[in-house]
Amino acid sequence: MRSIKYKILAAFLVIISVLTVSETFFVGMHFVTIKRYQDITDNMVAEYQIIENTASLISSFNDLVKYVNDQNRLNKYNQNRADLLALLGRLNKSIATPDGEVAYIGLKNTVLQVVASCDDGVAEVHRGDLTYVTSDYNNANHQNTFVRENTATLILKQLQYTETIRNEIIQDQVIIEIIGILFFLAVILGCVWYSFIFSRQLITPLARLTRIAKMIEDGDLTAKAEKDLTKRGDEIASLANSFNAMVNSLKANIRQLKNYNETLIKTKKIVTAHETEINQLQEINRLKDEFLNIVTHELKTPLIPIVGLSEVMTQKKQDLSPELQNYAEIIHKEAEKLSSLIRQILTAARSNSKEQIPYETFQLDEFIQSNLPALLEIAKRTDSKIEIKISSPDLEITSDKNRILQVIYNLVDNAVKYGNPRQTIIVAISKPDDRTAKIEIIDQGKGIPPDLKNRLFIKFSQLEPAASRSLEGMGLGLYLCKQAIDDLGGQIGLTSELGKGSDFYFTLPLSPKNGHKSAVAENDK
């Protein structure tokens, strides 16, 4: 896997290495040359030193002549001699040019002659023979002048040599600087090349990817990174591949979202249609209730004089003939029936969507007692009688009068229908505990077989009276009786044995469960 990074790095390293190596080489050479230069200049100092040393030698020779047996002075002479010869030896090693060699040999000879003269003189002094001392001294001095000359020549030769070395040094410096500049240029060039390559190999694909992204953003989902981007085998390729994967995922998501949106729109349409329907139905309901209210009033208003005045008439026995009394009674009875019927129809017709029917607080025993005439009418069909048995007189209950009445009507109707003719049907009202009232309709009929007992209170039961001919012309099935009692918070049931008649009973709570409203509550306080 050759990535761009490595290519660029390799090229760069090559150039840098080459430049570094050559620079090192020239720097090394430069140092060597400088050393040579330094050596030569050091030598020149030493060479000049020769003059001084020869002078010292001659001087110490002279001293010895004056102070013949001074050991110190003798030591000093020896020391000077040694130093001079040592210096001469050192100089020998550092002469680099043939010219210099020649000069050096000349110098050496003259120095040695000086030394020889001095040695001679010292030996003579030591012997005590001072005859030729002066001439030795003079010889030494004479040679010394040559020493001076020779030294000057030598130094001159050395100086000439340093000229050439100096030039070499300057050349080296120039070369080094040139290499340095080349290095610098190489770095610059490397950077330029790097950015050129980089831009071509990196930025361009990125720019292409960006363009593709923009196309997708604008909505063209067919755009994707082409093979030349995805098959490069480097980081760009990874990016391009990831990019394509992302685009595909995006396309899938968008498709799904479109589907959801369509579903949502459809659902919304259905809901709106239903809302319209519901609104319409509510409006119809409202109109129906309005109608009902008007009808209620119009039907009930004439009933007041019809029911009321006929009642009054039945009570004014003294003012009417028996015949007219009878007619008044008939009118009153039928008016009552009509009144009750209208009441029930109107109540049943009211919409069920309203709140719970508020309850009334009334005396249960009184209420049932007051409806005895109607029950008697039912019983009369089979020449039967109704007996009301009240075991607790004070039975104040808060409940729905209408529904209780309807249930009682229905149970009595059943008792009459399925019981024996000429029987006595007992309506028993009791208070089994502090919070419950119980009403039983007891007949002396055939009784109900045990297997049928369970099926009685369910819908469409066979024992349900079809078109029950109760007083109001409206019957409730036992199923509806159960519904009504359940709604009122009570329980309905049956005790029966074959051949021993049946006892249909229901219980009711004396006060309603929480949340149920009472009519006229305020005014009763």
Partner: protein, 134 residues
């Protein structure tokens, strides 16, 4: 006992009067709410007002509101007559409005029996007397 009957139905008024005959009470009648209020303001010593709710012009509620704003009429109890079943939610809602006036002491559903009427009348007047003596 002095009773005022306010109802726009002539036959209903006749019936109510017939019902109340045995009480041997002084009976006054008015066929509109306005008329009723006039009678009440001229002689406010009535023991009871029997009031129909649904009337043309001023209905029963308006009458009650007017009565509650008058210091003398405030104290007279009202027995409301309505065609709405006592167990209906509409009547219940209606009664809530009436209750704000604190005038209505009883409600009868049309058509009512003589017994019902007499029971209510006796109950209300007894209550009022008890309130007054207390």
């Amino acid at each position: 006992m002095k009773i005022l009957i306010i109802d726009d139905e002539l036959d209903t008024v006749t019936t109510v009067k017939a019902f109340l005959f045995e009480l041997a009470a002084e009976l006054e009648t008015a066929y509109t709410g306005k008329d009723g209020l006039k009678k009440l303001s001229s002689a406010p010593n009535f023991d009871l007002v029997i009031l129909d709710f649904m009337m043309a012009g001023m209905n029963g509620l308006d009458v009650c509101k007017a009565m509650s704003n008058d210091t003398k009429m405030q104290k007279i109890p009202v027995l409301l007559i309505s065609a709405l079943p006592v167990t209906s939610p509409e009547l219940h809602e209606l009664l809530e409005e009436f209750n704000q006036t604190h005038m209505v002491k009883g409600v009868l559903e049309k058509p009512f029996s003589k017994k019902d009427l007499l029971r209510e009348v006796k109950k209300i007047t007894a209550l009022t007397k008890a309130d007054q003596t207390a």
